[in-house]
């Protein structure tokens, strides 16, 4: 089953809308296996997601990787709140990469959308468990940890376990369960003044069958959810002790690095091993299908050896591809007017052709973008005794394990993947295009010692899985009343973005038409995925229409949003907080943008300007976010700040370009990531609307680029339709 992330939103909407909560322990085989893997003497396992030890320690097993989103802590908060645990005794472990820990909640979020059948949400939970085990689903992505796993699993597990603990205490104290209360890891019988620790109840309580659908707390009863609790992983990240995938080591381990075909789709044709073997410390050169690997007694000799090689690669027929050529081909597709997908309502053609209508059109272009996680790919493999062990970090451990089995030729039960801390992901580490999984499997099987494969930064940049290069042509019409009467978006890229692109404005006639353009590059899940480019197209174009209408861009958006809705509340709040409309110095301007993605509504106002010499200056950002409920407000604010800055970084200077089918950029000097000196102050405000919980890792990003472009238009009169803007504007 191929997981397409653009389906996530439909799935999320369908499931949340149906109000389905987890009864995920319906799959007894998986449950028993998970309990066996987490429980043990003195460790009582509740479902597969949590244990309570005799000493009261509560261990939460997260099926999500925490690469800085803070989801481990937030998921534990959600479980511990329902459990009424003592937070001082709560810790989090990464769930093993085993089918028993397939994320049933994710299946519930995604599968209905994948199949396009919301009715699937009503299937028995055992079915979702089966899907999660086999899909496989241990994904970290889609801003899904809190809104899916937290809501559908963690809270339910906590509440069910709490009930079992209460029932066990009632039996022991011989009192009605209704007379018992729970708090801080104890069950208390106030009448008799007796109380029992969870640790002394756990073993027996875990033998009880857990309720399928325990009542969950109402928001007014939360004790941990909504609190700015310190993240559990941070202390190890300030003293060098946190061990990332790249840090893992075994005795006798060698270190390898790789050079893959510069043109994606190319194959290795020939390579003379001798120049690498002549490098002191190099032990092996291993030719793979489309790459060459050098194994040495350390990274430095491996790198020197790799650089000494002059491998010949084919170009897979893509040797003529350039970025300009891609835009030309995309324009030709749109010109031909035969969309692969067509959505919308009303008669846009009539609106655009209506007598007296004021029409406008604009073409926007965005480049390939690289995730540029700080930790380059690194995995350690050890083939021994007919087994393969691999240590590393990806955004889906179960799928990683399955791919390792596929590439090594070993049965899955002889392959163990050990998920480790990851130095950033941003969508780069989804297994299907995490090439190092295949590389480490093949290299480990070819040698009889442990080997750690590390990608150079140059390899990381050149062999990326990018946000697609894309073109959008927008057309709009204003009616006599100055309101938008028609809106058409024609866009060319690989993926149909319909399910991810929320158009919040009330317009009588809309059309969204996708033209499928296939390059030689992977269509990857870059942070916030298709919402980046479509946020830029839509929020730039509505700004253009506002100016055409002679209206204030904030008021113009306002006039097209449903009264009393969440979008309007977010927009009003960001305008109010930013002092929208107040005077600014010459050369400065404000821009506003509003984008909904992953179930969260986010608006930014950016104040920016241009120095007399053309230097672009970011002055301040205001962000207002409605994700329904913030589980950990401080962490959520950090996510929004980081997303804003990543969005601004891409808008200012990031682009992957192709020449001769190969990537032109190679490292940070030519793929510039924003630094501290450029980072403006960011005011983040959350609206706790009480709506269904939305994602928080990604939604802060899409409004950043259009808000900046709109601000620079306000400051200079120059409309930006091509990203990146550059750090100087002439």
């Amino acid at each position: 089953m191929k997981l397409r992330r653009r389906h996530f939103l439909i799935g999320g909407t369908a499931v949340v809308g149906a109000g389905v909560f987890s009864v995920w322990w319906g799959d007894h085989a998986a449950l028993q296996r998970a309990k066996a893997m987490t429980g043990g003497p003195g460790q009582a396992a509740f479902g597969g997601w949590m244990t309570i030890a005799n000493d009261d320690t509560v261990t939460v097993y997260s099926p999500h990787i925490d690469f800085g989103q803070g989801s481990h802590t937030a998921l534990a908060q959600m479980l511990a709140d329902e459990l009424d645990a003592d937070w001082a005794h709560v810790r989090v472990e990464q769930a093993p990469a085993d089918y028993a820990f397939g994320n049933t909640a994710l299946a519930k979020l995604f599968v209905p959308g994948m199949a396009g059948m919301p009715a699937l949400a009503h299937l028995p939970d055992a079915v979702f468990s089966l899907i999660a085990r086999n899909a496989p689903l241990q994904v970290t992505g889609g801003s899904s940890a809190i809104r899916a796993t937290g809501q559908f699993s963690m809270r339910v597990v906590g509440a069910a376990a709490r009930q079992a603990l209460v029932d066990e205490a009632a039996a022991r104290l011989n009192v009605p369960a209704g007379e018992l209360t729970t708090a801080k890891g104890r069950v208390t019988h106030a009448k008799s003044g007796r109380s029992l620790r969870y640790g002394e109840l756990a073993e027996a309580a875990a033998q009880r069958s857990l309720p399928d659908d325990p009542p969950l707390k109402t928001r007014d009863r939360f004790t941990l959810i909504g609190k700015p609790i310190d993240r559990l992983d941070i202390p190890a990240k300030v003293n060098g002790s946190a061990t990332y995938g790249i840090d893992f080591a075994l005795p006798q381990m060698r270190v390898a690095t790789v050079i893959a075909a510069p043109v994606r789709g190319g194959k290795l044709q020939s390579v003379d091993h001798a120049p690498a073997m002549a490098v002191h410390g190099v032990e092996r050169v291993i030719a793979l299908d489309s790459a060459v690997v050098v194994v040495a007694n350390g990274y430095w000799p491996a790198l020197k050896g790799a650089r000494a090689l002059t491998p010949k690669f084919s170009d897979g027929g893509h040797g003529g591809l350039t970025s300009a050529g891609i835009f030309a081909a995309q324009a030709a597709l749109i010109d031909a007017g035969k969309p692969d997908h067509h959505y919308g309502s009303g008669d846009v053609g009539a609106a655009l052709a209506a007598p007296g209508a004021r029409t406008h059109h604009a073409e926007y272009r965005v480049p390939f973008l690289h995730q540029a996680a700080m930790e380059p790919f690194a995995m350690t493999g050890h083939h021994h005794d007919g087994r393969l062990d691999v240590w590393g970090a990806t955004q889906d451990p179960i799928q990683t394990r399955n791919l390792l089995a596929q590439f090594s030729g070993l049965p899955v039960d002889r392959v163990t993947f050990h998920p480790m801390i990851m130095g950033g992901g941003f969508g780069r580490r989804f297994p299907p295009y995490t090439q190092i999984i295949e590389q480490i499997a093949r290299v480990a099987m070819a040698v009889d010692y442990p080997v750690k494969l590390i990608w150079s930064r140059e390899e990381d940049v050149k062999q990326g899985a990018y946000r697609p290069q894309s073109m959008g042509r927008l057309q709009g019409a204003l009616g006599h009343d100055g309101r938008i009467s028609g809106w058409q978006s024609d866009y060319a890229q690989l993926a149909d973005a319909e399910s991810e692109t929320v158009f919040p404005y009330v317009v009588p006639a809309t059309a969204r038409r996708h033209y499928k353009y296939i390059s030689n590059q992977v269509d990857a899940f870059w942070r916030s995925v298709n919402s980046t480019q479509h946020g830029f197209y839509n929020e730039s174009f509505i700004d253009e229409l506002a100016h055409l209408a002679g209206a204030d861009p904030y008021q113009f958006r306002r006039a097209h949003l449903p009264a009393g809705g969440r979008h309007l509340a977010v927009l009003d709040a960001v305008a109010q907080r930013s002092g929208w409309g107040s005077a600014l110095p010459a050369g400065s301007g404000r821009g506003i943008a509003l984008v909904e993605s992953f179930g969260t509504i986010c608006a930014h106002v950016i104040e920016a300007g241009v120095d007399p010499d053309g230097t672009v200056r970011l002055h301040k950002v205001w962000a207002v976010v409605d994700c329904g409920l913030t589980v950990n407000p401080r962490n959520a604010a950090a996510q929004v700040q980081g997303a804003v800055l990543m969005g601004l970084s891409t808008a200012l200077g990031e682009a992957i370009t192709l020449t001769g089918g190969a990537v032109d950029q190679s490292s940070f000097p030519d793929y510039p990531v924003i630094k501290l000196a450029e980072a403006p102050a960011i005011d983040v405000h959350f609206i706790e609307s009480g709506a269904a919980i939305g994602g928080i890792g990604e939604p802060g990003l899409p409004p950043a680029a259009p808000a900046l472009a709109n601000a620079l238009f306000a400051a200079t009169g120059k409309r930006i339709r091509t990203l990146p803007i550059g750090r100087t504007l002439v």
């Binding site: 803070g70 300030v238 970084s649």
Partner: protein, 156 residues
């Protein structure tokens, strides 16, 4: 070749060719993996250490140049019982996200404070050129001000 130096107060002997970057000698020979590999060309700062008290990007420092020098890595910036004030501030301000660059950020910030105990925002801008893809920059700034003992200046 063997190069004798001091790392975190202890004498060490690095093996390997003279051009071996200090980063890899620290990580692979001494197991000091708190110092991270980010780019290998001194562009990102993830590998920052102190050499004789000055911040240096160890991916681009050949071991042939560190004979007799005193090197400090993140592992010795503080101790569990006596953390560096920046480490305390980093936790209080919940600075890290993925955390991968933070060893380098802390070493760069520690060198800054050693030379300039009360840096201005402009001083921080100039000194803190390490890349953080999670973009924890605003909290890095706050935490440096906090560790310097003053209230954070309002960023421009």
């Amino acid at each position: 070749m063997a190069v004798e130096a001091q790392v975190n107060g202890k004498p060490v002997t690095f093996q390997g060719d003279d051009d071996t970057p200090l980063l890899w000698a620290l990580r692979e020979q001494l197991g000091l993996t708190g110092t991270k590999f980010g780019c290998g060309i001194a562009a990102c700062g993830a590998c920052s250490v102190h050499i004789d008290g000055e911040v240096a990007r160890s991916c681009s420092v050949p071991i042939g140049t560190v004979a007799g020098k005193a090197i400090t890595t993140i592992e010795a910036l503080g101790t569990p019982t006596a953390p560096h004030p920046l480490q305390v501030a980093w936790i209080a301000h919940q600075v890290p996200q993925c955390g991968y660059c933070q060893s380098g950020q802390l070493m760069a910030a520690a060198a800054l404070l050693a030379h300039n105990p009360h840096p201005s925002d402009a001083d921080i801008d100039a000194a803190m050129t390490n890349i953080c893809r999670c973009a924890t920059y605003l909290r890095i700034r706050e935490a440096i001000h906090a560790a310097a003992g003053g209230a954070a200046e309002v960023a421009a």
